[in-house]
Protein backbone atom coordinates (compact mmCIF):
# COMPACT_ATOMS: atom_id res chain seq x y z
CA UNK A 1 0.00 0.00 0.00
CA UNK A 2 1.91 3.01 -1.21
CA UNK A 3 0.86 6.50 -0.31
CA UNK A 4 1.45 9.54 -2.44
CA UNK A 5 4.53 10.59 -0.55
CA UNK A 6 6.23 7.30 -1.18
CA UNK A 7 5.42 7.48 -4.92
CA UNK A 8 7.20 10.79 -5.17
CA UNK A 9 10.21 9.30 -3.51
CA UNK A 10 10.21 6.47 -6.02
CA UNK A 11 10.27 8.67 -9.15
CA UNK A 12 12.98 10.81 -7.61
CA UNK A 13 14.87 7.64 -6.84
CA UNK A 14 14.50 6.28 -10.37
CA UNK A 15 15.67 9.47 -11.99
CA UNK A 16 18.75 9.68 -9.83
CA UNK A 17 19.58 6.06 -10.49
CA UNK A 18 19.12 6.35 -14.25
CA UNK A 19 21.46 9.32 -14.30
CA UNK A 20 23.89 7.53 -12.07
CA UNK A 21 23.79 4.44 -14.25
CA UNK A 22 24.40 6.48 -17.37
CA UNK A 23 27.24 8.24 -15.64
CA UNK A 24 28.85 4.96 -14.62
CA UNK A 25 28.59 3.68 -18.17
CA UNK A 26 30.17 6.74 -19.72
CA UNK A 27 32.78 6.85 -16.98
CA UNK A 28 33.69 3.25 -17.69
CA UNK A 29 33.92 3.91 -21.40
CA UNK A 30 36.08 6.97 -20.79
CA UNK A 31 38.54 4.99 -18.77
CA UNK A 32 38.58 2.16 -21.26
CA UNK A 33 39.32 4.51 -24.13
CA UNK A 34 41.99 6.39 -22.24
CA UNK A 35 43.76 3.19 -21.37
CA UNK A 36 43.61 1.73 -24.82
CA UNK A 37 47.08 1.77 -26.21
CA UNK A 38 48.30 0.74 -29.59
CA UNK A 39 52.00 0.05 -29.69
CA UNK A 40 53.98 2.33 -31.96
CA UNK A 41 51.13 4.67 -32.82
CA UNK A 42 50.87 8.11 -31.32
CA UNK A 43 47.65 8.95 -29.49
CA UNK A 44 45.50 11.63 -31.03
CA UNK A 45 45.83 14.68 -28.81
CA UNK A 46 42.37 15.91 -29.74
CA UNK A 47 40.81 12.62 -28.80
CA UNK A 48 42.68 12.44 -25.49
CA UNK A 49 41.70 15.98 -24.57
CA UNK A 50 38.03 15.36 -25.38
CA UNK A 51 38.03 12.12 -23.36
CA UNK A 52 39.69 13.72 -20.36
CA UNK A 53 37.33 16.70 -20.45
CA UNK A 54 34.39 14.28 -20.46
CA UNK A 55 35.93 12.40 -17.57
CA UNK A 56 36.43 15.62 -15.62
CA UNK A 57 32.85 16.64 -16.30
CA UNK A 58 31.55 13.37 -14.92
CA UNK A 59 33.76 13.64 -11.86
CA UNK A 60 32.50 17.17 -11.25
CA UNK A 61 28.91 16.04 -11.49
CA UNK A 62 29.53 13.14 -9.18
CA UNK A 63 31.19 15.40 -6.65
CA UNK A 64 28.54 18.07 -6.77
CA UNK A 65 25.78 15.52 -6.48
CA UNK A 66 27.37 14.26 -3.29
CA UNK A 67 27.86 10.84 -4.73
CA UNK A 68 29.36 9.56 -1.53
CA UNK A 69 26.01 9.53 0.15
CA UNK A 70 23.84 8.69 -2.79
CA UNK A 71 24.88 6.02 -5.17
CA UNK A 72 24.53 2.42 -6.01
CA UNK A 73 27.36 0.16 -5.08
CA UNK A 74 29.00 -0.50 -8.43
CA UNK A 75 29.80 -4.12 -7.96
CA UNK A 76 26.63 -5.72 -6.77
CA UNK A 77 23.99 -3.57 -8.33
CA UNK A 78 24.71 -3.12 -11.98
CA UNK A 79 25.13 -6.83 -12.42
CA UNK A 80 21.55 -7.35 -11.37
CA UNK A 81 18.49 -6.43 -13.32
CA UNK A 82 16.54 -5.36 -10.31
CA UNK A 83 19.32 -3.60 -8.52
CA UNK A 84 17.07 -0.77 -7.44
CA UNK A 85 15.33 -2.99 -4.98
CA UNK A 86 18.43 -4.28 -3.38
CA UNK A 87 20.24 -1.23 -2.25
CA UNK A 88 19.54 1.50 0.19
CA UNK A 89 19.58 4.76 -1.66
CA UNK A 90 18.91 8.27 -0.63
CA UNK A 91 18.84 10.91 -3.28
CA UNK A 92 19.59 14.50 -2.34
CA UNK A 93 16.10 15.73 -3.14
CA UNK A 94 14.39 13.39 -0.72
CA UNK A 95 16.78 12.80 2.06
CA UNK A 96 16.57 15.90 4.23
CA UNK A 97 16.13 14.40 7.63
CA UNK A 98 14.16 11.48 6.29
CA UNK A 99 15.17 7.93 6.76
CA UNK A 100 15.71 5.87 3.63
CA UNK A 101 12.47 4.50 2.15
CA UNK A 102 11.46 1.01 3.02
CA UNK A 103 12.27 -1.36 0.22
CA UNK A 104 11.07 -4.91 -0.28
CA UNK A 105 13.45 -7.89 -0.24
CA UNK A 106 16.36 -6.30 1.46
CA UNK A 107 17.86 -9.26 3.16
CA UNK A 108 19.52 -10.80 0.10
CA UNK A 109 22.12 -8.11 -0.11
CA UNK A 110 22.89 -7.83 3.55
CA UNK A 111 26.66 -8.10 3.33
CA UNK A 112 26.95 -5.54 0.56
CA UNK A 113 24.79 -3.09 2.33
CA UNK A 114 27.06 -3.26 5.31
CA UNK A 115 29.84 -1.70 3.27
CA UNK A 116 30.36 1.83 4.55
CA UNK A 117 29.63 4.70 2.17
CA UNK A 118 33.22 5.71 2.59
CA UNK A 119 34.17 3.03 0.07
CA UNK A 120 32.22 4.81 -2.62
CA UNK A 121 33.69 8.20 -1.89
CA UNK A 122 37.09 6.52 -1.94
CA UNK A 123 36.19 5.33 -5.41
CA UNK A 124 35.40 8.86 -6.43
CA UNK A 125 38.72 10.05 -5.04
CA UNK A 126 40.48 7.25 -6.83
CA UNK A 127 38.78 8.27 -10.03
CA UNK A 128 40.02 11.76 -9.54
CA UNK A 129 43.50 10.48 -8.95
CA UNK A 130 43.21 8.20 -11.91
CA UNK A 131 42.17 11.11 -14.04
CA UNK A 132 45.27 13.01 -13.03
CA UNK A 133 47.42 9.99 -13.63
CA UNK A 134 45.98 9.48 -17.05
CA UNK A 135 46.76 13.11 -17.76
CA UNK A 136 50.29 12.77 -16.51
CA UNK A 137 50.97 9.77 -18.59
CA UNK A 138 49.34 10.83 -21.79
CA UNK A 139 50.45 14.43 -21.89
CA UNK A 140 53.90 13.96 -20.48
CA UNK A 141 54.66 11.39 -23.07
CA UNK A 142 53.41 13.38 -25.96
CA UNK A 143 54.95 16.61 -24.79
CA UNK A 144 58.55 15.87 -23.97
CA UNK A 145 60.61 13.49 -25.99
CA UNK A 146 62.67 12.62 -22.94
CA UNK A 147 60.12 10.09 -21.85
CA UNK A 148 59.31 6.90 -23.58
CA UNK A 149 55.66 6.39 -24.34
CA UNK A 150 54.67 4.23 -21.42
CA UNK A 151 51.65 2.07 -21.14
CA UNK A 152 50.01 3.06 -17.89
CA UNK A 153 48.60 -0.35 -16.98
CA UNK A 154 51.87 -2.15 -17.63
CA UNK A 155 53.75 0.43 -15.58
CA UNK A 156 51.51 -0.38 -12.67
CA UNK A 157 51.66 -4.07 -13.23
CA UNK A 158 55.41 -4.11 -13.13
CA UNK A 159 55.43 -1.62 -10.30
CA UNK A 160 58.55 0.07 -11.62
CA UNK A 161 59.40 3.30 -13.37
CA UNK A 162 60.00 3.06 -17.11
CA UNK A 163 63.74 3.30 -17.67
CA UNK A 164 63.91 6.41 -19.73
CA UNK A 165 62.39 8.75 -17.16
CA UNK A 166 65.23 11.00 -16.24
CA UNK A 167 63.55 13.19 -13.66
CA UNK A 168 61.56 12.28 -10.58
CA UNK A 169 59.21 15.14 -11.30
CA UNK A 170 55.51 14.66 -11.65
CA UNK A 171 55.90 11.14 -12.98
CA UNK A 172 57.19 10.15 -9.57
CA UNK A 173 53.63 10.64 -8.44
CA UNK A 174 52.76 7.64 -10.59
CA UNK A 175 54.53 5.53 -7.99
CA UNK A 176 52.35 5.15 -4.98
CA UNK A 177 52.10 3.11 -1.86
CA UNK A 178 51.40 -0.49 -2.62
CA UNK A 179 48.23 -0.14 -0.56
CA UNK A 180 46.87 2.63 -2.70
CA UNK A 181 47.87 0.76 -5.82
CA UNK A 182 45.94 -2.30 -4.75
CA UNK A 183 42.98 -0.17 -3.84
CA UNK A 184 42.89 1.49 -7.23
CA UNK A 185 43.39 -1.80 -9.02
CA UNK A 186 40.42 -3.07 -7.10
CA UNK A 187 38.27 -0.16 -8.21
CA UNK A 188 39.39 -0.62 -11.79
CA UNK A 189 38.58 -4.29 -11.75
CA UNK A 190 35.18 -3.34 -10.47
CA UNK A 191 34.87 -0.98 -13.41
CA UNK A 192 35.75 -3.74 -15.86
CA UNK A 193 32.70 -5.65 -14.81
CA UNK A 194 30.62 -2.70 -15.88
CA UNK A 195 31.86 -2.58 -19.41
CA UNK A 196 32.62 -6.20 -20.04
CA UNK A 197 35.74 -8.29 -20.40
CA UNK A 198 38.70 -7.08 -22.37
CA UNK A 199 39.75 -4.30 -20.08
CA UNK A 200 42.04 -6.63 -18.24
CA UNK A 201 44.84 -6.39 -20.75
CA UNK A 202 47.87 -5.16 -18.95
CA UNK A 203 46.43 -5.67 -15.51
CA UNK A 204 47.87 -8.37 -13.40
CA UNK A 205 46.79 -8.70 -9.83
Amino acid sequence: MLGRGVKRKWSCLEEAEVVSEARQLVLGLCLEKLQRYQAGVELSLRRSVLLINTLRQIQEEMRSDGVGSCDVHPDSCLLRDDFREDVTVTCPGCSEGESPPELPSQEANGSDQQKPPAAVSDAVNAMGYLGDLALDDIFEDIDTSMYETSDLPSAWASGSLPQSHSTAGSLQSCLMDLNELDHIMEILVVETHLVGPGLQNGFSL
Binding site: V41, L45, V49
Partner: protein, 425 residues
Protein backbone atom coordinates in the same frame (compact mmCIF):
# COMPACT_ATOMS: atom_id res chain seq x y z
CA UNK B 1 36.28 -7.03 -51.60
CA UNK B 2 39.15 -6.50 -49.26
CA UNK B 3 39.74 -2.81 -48.86
CA UNK B 4 43.39 -2.14 -48.30
CA UNK B 5 43.89 0.41 -45.59
CA UNK B 6 46.37 2.27 -47.76
CA UNK B 7 43.79 2.91 -50.48
CA UNK B 8 41.49 4.87 -48.22
CA UNK B 9 41.17 8.38 -49.62
CA UNK B 10 42.05 10.96 -47.01
CA UNK B 11 41.72 14.25 -48.91
CA UNK B 12 40.12 15.61 -52.10
CA UNK B 13 40.74 19.00 -53.70
CA UNK B 14 39.99 20.75 -57.00
CA UNK B 15 42.52 23.24 -58.30
CA UNK B 16 41.59 26.90 -58.93
CA UNK B 17 40.26 26.31 -62.42
CA UNK B 18 38.63 23.00 -61.69
CA UNK B 19 40.59 21.38 -64.47
CA UNK B 20 42.48 19.19 -62.05
CA UNK B 21 41.28 17.16 -59.08
CA UNK B 22 43.77 15.77 -56.58
CA UNK B 23 43.22 12.99 -54.07
CA UNK B 24 45.55 11.82 -51.31
CA UNK B 25 45.31 8.49 -49.59
CA UNK B 26 46.36 6.67 -46.47
CA UNK B 27 49.28 5.10 -48.29
CA UNK B 28 50.87 8.47 -48.97
CA UNK B 29 49.94 8.52 -52.66
CA UNK B 30 48.56 11.43 -54.63
CA UNK B 31 46.40 10.80 -57.69
CA UNK B 32 45.54 13.73 -59.96
CA UNK B 33 42.61 13.62 -62.36
CA UNK B 34 42.24 15.92 -65.35
CA UNK B 35 39.07 17.12 -66.95
CA UNK B 36 38.87 15.98 -70.53
CA UNK B 37 37.51 18.31 -73.15
CA UNK B 38 33.87 17.81 -73.95
CA UNK B 39 33.48 15.42 -76.79
CA UNK B 40 32.11 16.98 -79.95
CA UNK B 41 29.56 14.25 -80.56
CA UNK B 42 28.10 14.55 -77.05
CA UNK B 43 28.04 18.26 -76.30
CA UNK B 44 25.32 17.86 -73.67
CA UNK B 45 27.67 16.05 -71.38
CA UNK B 46 30.60 17.51 -69.60
CA UNK B 47 33.89 15.81 -70.19
CA UNK B 48 35.10 13.15 -67.83
CA UNK B 49 37.89 13.21 -65.34
CA UNK B 50 40.70 10.79 -66.11
CA UNK B 51 43.89 9.98 -64.31
CA UNK B 52 46.55 12.52 -65.14
CA UNK B 53 49.35 11.73 -62.71
CA UNK B 54 50.09 9.42 -59.80
CA UNK B 55 52.98 9.75 -57.44
CA UNK B 56 54.15 8.75 -53.99
CA UNK B 57 54.17 11.93 -51.93
CA UNK B 58 55.04 10.71 -48.45
CA UNK B 59 56.61 7.57 -47.05
CA UNK B 60 56.15 6.17 -43.56
CA UNK B 61 58.84 7.38 -41.20
CA UNK B 62 60.00 6.40 -37.78
CA UNK B 63 60.57 8.85 -34.95
CA UNK B 64 63.40 7.20 -33.07
CA UNK B 65 63.22 9.56 -30.14
CA UNK B 66 59.65 8.69 -29.30
CA UNK B 67 59.61 5.18 -30.76
CA UNK B 68 56.63 6.09 -32.85
CA UNK B 69 55.75 5.61 -36.45
CA UNK B 70 54.89 8.70 -38.48
CA UNK B 71 52.03 7.84 -40.79
CA UNK B 72 52.39 8.53 -44.48
CA UNK B 73 48.70 9.33 -44.77
CA UNK B 74 48.09 12.55 -46.69
CA UNK B 75 46.03 14.78 -44.41
CA UNK B 76 45.54 17.68 -46.80
CA UNK B 77 46.31 18.83 -50.34
CA UNK B 78 46.12 22.45 -51.37
CA UNK B 79 46.79 23.74 -54.88
CA UNK B 80 48.72 26.87 -55.66
CA UNK B 81 47.27 29.27 -58.20
CA UNK B 82 48.69 28.52 -61.62
CA UNK B 83 51.42 30.89 -62.78
CA UNK B 84 52.94 29.03 -65.72
CA UNK B 85 52.51 25.81 -67.61
CA UNK B 86 53.32 23.70 -64.57
CA UNK B 87 50.97 22.99 -61.67
CA UNK B 88 52.01 23.20 -58.04
CA UNK B 89 50.41 21.69 -54.98
CA UNK B 90 51.19 21.34 -51.29
CA UNK B 91 50.62 17.95 -49.67
CA UNK B 92 51.09 17.16 -46.02
CA UNK B 93 51.11 14.24 -43.63
CA UNK B 94 51.24 14.58 -39.83
CA UNK B 95 54.67 16.17 -39.76
CA UNK B 96 56.02 17.25 -43.15
CA UNK B 97 54.66 19.47 -45.92
CA UNK B 98 55.91 19.08 -49.48
CA UNK B 99 55.60 21.32 -52.51
CA UNK B 100 55.18 19.28 -55.69
CA UNK B 101 55.59 20.47 -59.24
CA UNK B 102 53.53 18.66 -61.82
CA UNK B 103 54.67 19.35 -65.37
CA UNK B 104 54.02 17.97 -68.80
CA UNK B 105 56.56 16.86 -71.23
CA UNK B 106 55.42 16.20 -74.78
CA UNK B 107 58.56 17.02 -76.70
CA UNK B 108 62.02 15.61 -76.70
CA UNK B 109 65.19 17.19 -77.95
CA UNK B 110 66.94 15.03 -80.50
CA UNK B 111 70.02 15.36 -82.62
CA UNK B 112 72.69 15.96 -80.05
CA UNK B 113 76.13 15.09 -81.34
CA UNK B 114 77.71 15.14 -77.91
CA UNK B 115 77.46 11.44 -77.20
CA UNK B 116 78.52 8.28 -78.92
CA UNK B 117 76.08 5.64 -80.03
CA UNK B 118 76.57 3.79 -76.80
CA UNK B 119 75.86 6.91 -74.77
CA UNK B 120 79.32 7.84 -73.70
CA UNK B 121 80.29 11.48 -73.82
CA UNK B 122 82.51 12.23 -76.70
CA UNK B 123 85.78 13.94 -76.13
CA UNK B 124 85.10 17.65 -76.81
CA UNK B 125 88.10 17.99 -79.05
CA UNK B 126 86.71 15.38 -81.38
CA UNK B 127 83.47 17.26 -82.00
CA UNK B 128 84.02 19.28 -85.14
CA UNK B 129 80.57 20.49 -86.08
CA UNK B 130 77.87 22.43 -84.27
CA UNK B 131 74.56 20.64 -84.40
CA UNK B 132 71.44 22.25 -82.95
CA UNK B 133 69.05 19.65 -81.49
CA UNK B 134 65.54 19.51 -82.87
CA UNK B 135 62.43 19.21 -80.72
CA UNK B 136 60.48 16.13 -81.67
CA UNK B 137 57.05 15.24 -80.36
CA UNK B 138 56.79 12.37 -77.92
CA UNK B 139 54.04 10.69 -75.93
CA UNK B 140 52.76 12.95 -73.20
CA UNK B 141 54.53 12.37 -69.94
CA UNK B 142 53.39 13.96 -66.70
CA UNK B 143 56.10 14.30 -64.13
CA UNK B 144 55.80 15.13 -60.49
CA UNK B 145 58.86 16.33 -58.66
CA UNK B 146 59.24 17.53 -55.09
CA UNK B 147 60.46 21.12 -55.14
CA UNK B 148 60.41 21.99 -51.44
CA UNK B 149 60.23 20.01 -48.26
CA UNK B 150 59.02 21.86 -45.16
CA UNK B 151 59.96 19.67 -42.24
CA UNK B 152 60.69 19.69 -38.52
CA UNK B 153 58.35 22.52 -37.61
CA UNK B 154 55.53 20.59 -35.97
CA UNK B 155 55.70 18.66 -32.73
CA UNK B 156 52.02 17.73 -32.96
CA UNK B 157 49.92 16.39 -35.83
CA UNK B 158 49.31 18.75 -38.75
CA UNK B 159 45.59 19.04 -39.42
CA UNK B 160 45.49 21.94 -41.92
CA UNK B 161 47.43 23.81 -44.56
CA UNK B 162 46.17 26.90 -46.33
CA UNK B 163 47.70 28.98 -49.12
CA UNK B 164 47.56 32.72 -48.53
CA UNK B 165 46.04 35.15 -51.02
CA UNK B 166 49.46 36.71 -51.54
CA UNK B 167 50.49 33.43 -53.21
CA UNK B 168 53.81 33.66 -51.44
CA UNK B 169 53.05 32.36 -47.99
CA UNK B 170 50.98 29.60 -46.47
CA UNK B 171 50.06 28.44 -43.00
CA UNK B 172 50.21 25.01 -41.41
CA UNK B 173 48.37 24.13 -38.23
CA UNK B 174 48.80 21.29 -35.74
CA UNK B 175 46.96 20.56 -32.48
CA UNK B 176 48.61 23.37 -30.59
CA UNK B 177 50.45 25.64 -32.99
CA UNK B 178 50.14 27.44 -36.30
CA UNK B 179 53.16 28.31 -38.44
CA UNK B 180 53.50 30.70 -41.35
CA UNK B 181 55.84 29.72 -44.18
CA UNK B 182 57.23 31.35 -47.24
CA UNK B 183 56.97 29.01 -50.21
CA UNK B 184 60.60 29.62 -51.13
CA UNK B 185 62.07 29.07 -47.66
CA UNK B 186 62.14 25.66 -46.09
CA UNK B 187 64.51 26.00 -43.17
CA UNK B 188 62.47 28.54 -41.27
CA UNK B 189 58.87 29.27 -40.39
CA UNK B 190 57.17 31.83 -38.18
CA UNK B 191 55.09 30.62 -35.30
CA UNK B 192 51.95 32.75 -35.28
CA UNK B 193 49.70 30.87 -32.84
CA UNK B 194 50.74 28.83 -29.82
CA UNK B 195 48.12 27.55 -27.40
CA UNK B 196 50.33 25.07 -25.60
CA UNK B 197 50.03 25.66 -21.85
CA UNK B 198 53.15 25.74 -19.70
CA UNK B 199 51.78 22.79 -17.81
CA UNK B 200 50.34 20.22 -20.20
CA UNK B 201 48.02 18.99 -17.50
CA UNK B 202 46.10 22.23 -17.95
CA UNK B 203 45.41 21.49 -21.60
CA UNK B 204 41.70 21.48 -22.31
CA UNK B 205 41.45 22.64 -25.89
CA UNK B 206 43.22 21.92 -29.20
CA UNK B 207 43.29 23.51 -32.64
CA UNK B 208 41.24 21.49 -35.11
CA UNK B 209 41.39 23.47 -38.39
CA UNK B 210 42.76 26.71 -39.82
CA UNK B 211 42.35 28.68 -43.03
CA UNK B 212 43.61 31.88 -44.62
CA UNK B 213 41.09 34.49 -45.70
CA UNK B 214 40.57 34.28 -49.48
CA UNK B 215 41.27 37.98 -50.10
CA UNK B 216 42.81 39.57 -47.01
CA UNK B 217 46.28 38.15 -46.72
CA UNK B 218 46.64 39.30 -43.12
CA UNK B 219 43.57 37.45 -41.84
CA UNK B 220 43.14 33.80 -40.92
CA UNK B 221 40.86 31.75 -38.69
CA UNK B 222 41.30 28.67 -36.58
CA UNK B 223 38.74 26.44 -34.90
CA UNK B 224 38.97 24.48 -31.67
CA UNK B 225 37.79 21.28 -30.05
CA UNK B 226 35.48 23.34 -27.86
CA UNK B 227 33.44 24.61 -30.80
CA UNK B 228 34.94 28.09 -31.00
CA UNK B 229 36.51 29.98 -33.89
CA UNK B 230 39.11 32.70 -33.58
CA UNK B 231 39.85 35.19 -36.31
CA UNK B 232 43.32 36.69 -36.19
CA UNK B 233 44.97 39.63 -37.89
CA UNK B 234 48.67 39.18 -38.52
CA UNK B 235 49.20 42.91 -38.59
CA UNK B 236 48.27 43.19 -34.94
CA UNK B 237 51.21 41.27 -33.52
CA UNK B 238 53.85 38.78 -34.48
CA UNK B 239 52.30 36.16 -32.25
CA UNK B 240 48.56 36.00 -32.82
CA UNK B 241 47.62 34.51 -29.47
CA UNK B 242 45.10 37.27 -29.03
CA UNK B 243 42.28 37.01 -31.45
CA UNK B 244 40.60 39.88 -33.24
CA UNK B 245 37.27 38.09 -33.23
CA UNK B 246 35.92 35.20 -31.22
CA UNK B 247 33.00 33.20 -32.59
CA UNK B 248 30.98 31.00 -30.30
CA UNK B 249 27.35 30.06 -30.14
CA UNK B 250 25.97 29.95 -26.61
CA UNK B 251 25.11 26.43 -25.57
CA UNK B 252 21.50 25.33 -25.42
CA UNK B 253 21.15 24.16 -21.82
CA UNK B 254 18.24 21.87 -22.67
CA UNK B 255 20.39 19.73 -24.95
CA UNK B 256 23.33 19.37 -22.62
CA UNK B 257 24.71 15.85 -22.24
CA UNK B 258 27.97 14.10 -21.40
CA UNK B 259 28.85 14.40 -25.07
CA UNK B 260 28.07 18.06 -25.56
CA UNK B 261 31.68 19.10 -25.80
CA UNK B 262 32.70 16.25 -28.08
CA UNK B 263 29.95 16.96 -30.58
CA UNK B 264 30.65 20.68 -30.50
CA UNK B 265 34.25 20.08 -31.58
CA UNK B 266 34.69 21.69 -34.99
CA UNK B 267 36.15 19.38 -37.61
CA UNK B 268 36.42 21.81 -40.52
CA UNK B 269 36.28 25.54 -41.20
CA UNK B 270 36.00 27.08 -44.68
CA UNK B 271 35.68 30.66 -45.82
CA UNK B 272 33.10 31.40 -48.50
CA UNK B 273 34.53 32.41 -51.86
CA UNK B 274 33.27 35.92 -51.23
CA UNK B 275 35.21 36.14 -47.97
CA UNK B 276 32.14 37.47 -46.16
CA UNK B 277 31.15 34.23 -44.49
CA UNK B 278 32.72 31.15 -43.04
CA UNK B 279 31.30 27.69 -42.50
CA UNK B 280 32.06 25.29 -39.65
CA UNK B 281 31.27 21.59 -39.33
CA UNK B 282 30.71 19.99 -35.98
CA UNK B 283 29.49 16.44 -35.41
CA UNK B 284 25.80 16.97 -36.07
CA UNK B 285 25.53 20.23 -37.97
CA UNK B 286 27.00 22.76 -40.37
CA UNK B 287 26.94 26.43 -39.39
CA UNK B 288 27.39 29.49 -41.54
CA UNK B 289 28.83 32.52 -39.78
CA UNK B 290 28.83 36.15 -40.85
CA UNK B 291 32.30 37.45 -40.09
CA UNK B 292 30.70 40.55 -38.63
CA UNK B 293 28.66 38.65 -36.07
CA UNK B 294 30.48 36.74 -33.40
CA UNK B 295 27.80 35.67 -31.00
CA UNK B 296 25.93 33.20 -33.17
CA UNK B 297 25.89 31.71 -36.67
CA UNK B 298 23.51 33.16 -39.27
CA UNK B 299 22.52 29.74 -40.56
CA UNK B 300 22.52 26.26 -39.04
CA UNK B 301 21.91 23.09 -41.03
CA UNK B 302 21.26 19.75 -39.36
CA UNK B 303 23.21 17.04 -41.12
CA UNK B 304 21.95 13.97 -39.26
CA UNK B 305 20.00 15.09 -36.22
CA UNK B 306 18.62 11.53 -35.86
CA UNK B 307 22.01 10.58 -34.44
CA UNK B 308 21.52 12.75 -31.35
CA UNK B 309 19.72 9.99 -29.52
CA UNK B 310 22.45 7.52 -30.49
CA UNK B 311 25.39 9.48 -29.16
CA UNK B 312 26.26 6.94 -26.49
CA UNK B 313 26.63 4.14 -29.04
CA UNK B 314 28.57 6.43 -31.34
CA UNK B 315 30.82 7.25 -28.43
CA UNK B 316 31.29 3.58 -27.71
CA UNK B 317 32.30 2.71 -31.27
CA UNK B 318 34.41 5.88 -31.60
CA UNK B 319 32.37 7.28 -34.48
CA UNK B 320 31.72 10.39 -32.43
CA UNK B 321 35.33 11.35 -33.06
CA UNK B 322 34.97 11.24 -36.87
CA UNK B 323 36.01 14.46 -38.57
CA UNK B 324 33.74 15.48 -41.42
CA UNK B 325 34.71 18.19 -43.90
CA UNK B 326 32.42 20.65 -45.64
CA UNK B 327 32.60 22.78 -48.77
CA UNK B 328 30.97 25.67 -50.62
CA UNK B 329 29.91 25.70 -54.24
CA UNK B 330 31.46 28.28 -56.54
CA UNK B 331 28.79 30.93 -56.01
CA UNK B 332 28.43 30.28 -52.24
CA UNK B 333 24.75 29.50 -52.76
CA UNK B 334 25.06 25.88 -51.65
CA UNK B 335 27.07 23.82 -49.17
CA UNK B 336 27.88 20.14 -48.98
CA UNK B 337 29.04 17.75 -46.32
CA UNK B 338 29.22 14.00 -45.73
CA UNK B 339 27.51 11.59 -43.37
CA UNK B 340 27.33 7.83 -42.73
CA UNK B 341 26.10 4.99 -44.93
CA UNK B 342 27.89 6.69 -47.83
CA UNK B 343 25.33 9.48 -47.65
CA UNK B 344 26.22 13.07 -48.32
CA UNK B 345 24.07 16.14 -47.89
CA UNK B 346 23.68 19.33 -49.88
CA UNK B 347 21.94 22.45 -48.65
CA UNK B 348 20.72 25.32 -50.82
CA UNK B 349 21.15 28.47 -48.78
CA UNK B 350 18.60 30.46 -50.76
CA UNK B 351 15.71 28.04 -51.02
CA UNK B 352 16.58 26.27 -47.76
CA UNK B 353 16.04 22.99 -49.51
CA UNK B 354 18.28 20.07 -48.74
CA UNK B 355 18.95 16.73 -50.30
CA UNK B 356 20.55 13.49 -49.21
CA UNK B 357 22.38 11.46 -51.82
CA UNK B 358 24.32 8.23 -51.72
CA UNK B 359 27.73 7.48 -53.17
CA UNK B 360 27.78 3.79 -53.82
CA UNK B 361 28.21 1.49 -56.77
CA UNK B 362 24.66 0.24 -56.58
CA UNK B 363 23.11 3.66 -56.76
CA UNK B 364 25.58 5.23 -59.18
CA UNK B 365 25.42 3.77 -62.64
CA UNK B 366 27.20 5.97 -65.21
CA UNK B 367 24.86 8.59 -66.70
CA UNK B 368 22.08 7.65 -64.27
CA UNK B 369 20.47 10.26 -62.05
CA UNK B 370 21.08 10.01 -58.35
CA UNK B 371 18.01 9.26 -56.34
CA UNK B 372 17.42 11.26 -53.18
CA UNK B 373 17.66 9.20 -50.01
CA UNK B 374 15.85 9.55 -46.73
CA UNK B 375 16.46 8.29 -43.23
CA UNK B 376 13.29 7.45 -41.36
CA UNK B 377 13.25 8.84 -37.89
CA UNK B 378 9.74 8.05 -36.72
CA UNK B 379 8.31 4.69 -35.95
CA UNK B 380 6.81 4.10 -39.37
CA UNK B 381 9.36 3.51 -42.09
CA UNK B 382 8.19 4.41 -45.57
CA UNK B 383 9.21 2.43 -48.60
CA UNK B 384 12.67 3.40 -49.85
CA UNK B 385 13.56 4.93 -46.51
CA UNK B 386 16.30 3.51 -44.38
CA UNK B 387 16.05 3.27 -40.63
CA UNK B 388 18.69 4.76 -38.37
CA UNK B 389 19.62 1.36 -37.00
CA UNK B 390 20.34 0.04 -40.50
CA UNK B 391 22.90 2.72 -41.27
CA UNK B 392 26.39 1.46 -41.90
CA UNK B 393 28.69 3.55 -39.73
CA UNK B 394 31.77 2.12 -41.39
CA UNK B 395 30.81 3.81 -44.63
CA UNK B 396 31.58 7.38 -43.85
CA UNK B 397 31.97 10.27 -46.27
CA UNK B 398 34.48 12.55 -44.62
CA UNK B 399 35.89 14.29 -47.70
CA UNK B 400 34.01 16.10 -50.43
CA UNK B 401 34.93 18.84 -52.90
CA UNK B 402 32.98 21.15 -55.18
CA UNK B 403 34.24 22.42 -58.53
CA UNK B 404 35.08 26.14 -58.22
CA UNK B 405 32.84 27.11 -61.12
CA UNK B 406 30.62 24.29 -62.33
CA UNK B 407 28.18 21.94 -60.68
CA UNK B 408 30.62 19.09 -60.45
CA UNK B 409 31.33 17.43 -57.13
CA UNK B 410 33.86 14.89 -55.95
CA UNK B 411 32.92 12.56 -53.11
CA UNK B 412 35.36 10.17 -51.44
CA UNK B 413 33.75 7.03 -50.07
CA UNK B 414 36.46 5.03 -48.29
CA UNK B 415 38.66 3.90 -51.18
CA UNK B 416 36.40 5.03 -54.01
CA UNK B 417 36.16 8.43 -55.63
CA UNK B 418 32.83 9.47 -57.11
CA UNK B 419 32.49 12.41 -59.44
CA UNK B 420 28.97 13.66 -60.00
CA UNK B 421 27.93 16.29 -62.52
CA UNK B 422 24.88 18.30 -63.28
CA UNK B 423 23.23 17.65 -66.61
CA UNK B 424 23.71 20.56 -68.99
CA UNK B 425 20.40 21.33 -70.62
Amino acid sequence: HKVHDTDIISTVEFNYSGELLATGDKGGRVVIFQHEQESKNRPHLRGEYNVYSTFQSHEPEFDYLKSLEIEEKINKIRWLPQQNAAHFLLSTNDKTIKLWKISERDKRAEGYNLKDEDGRLRDPFRITSLRVPVLMPMDLMVEASPRRIFANAHTYHINSISVNSDHETYLSADDLRINLWHLEITDRSFNIVDIKPANMEELTEVITAAECHPHQCNVFVYSSSKGTIRLCDMRAAALCDRHSKFFEEPEDPSSRSFFSEIISSISDVKFSHSGRYMMTRDYLSVKVWDLNMENRPVETYQVHEYLRSKLCSLYENDCIFDKFECCWNGSDSAIMTGSYNNFFRMFDRNTRRDITLEASRESSKPRATLKPRKVSTGGKRKKDEISVDSLDFNKKILHTAWHPKDNVIAVAATNNLYIFQDKIN
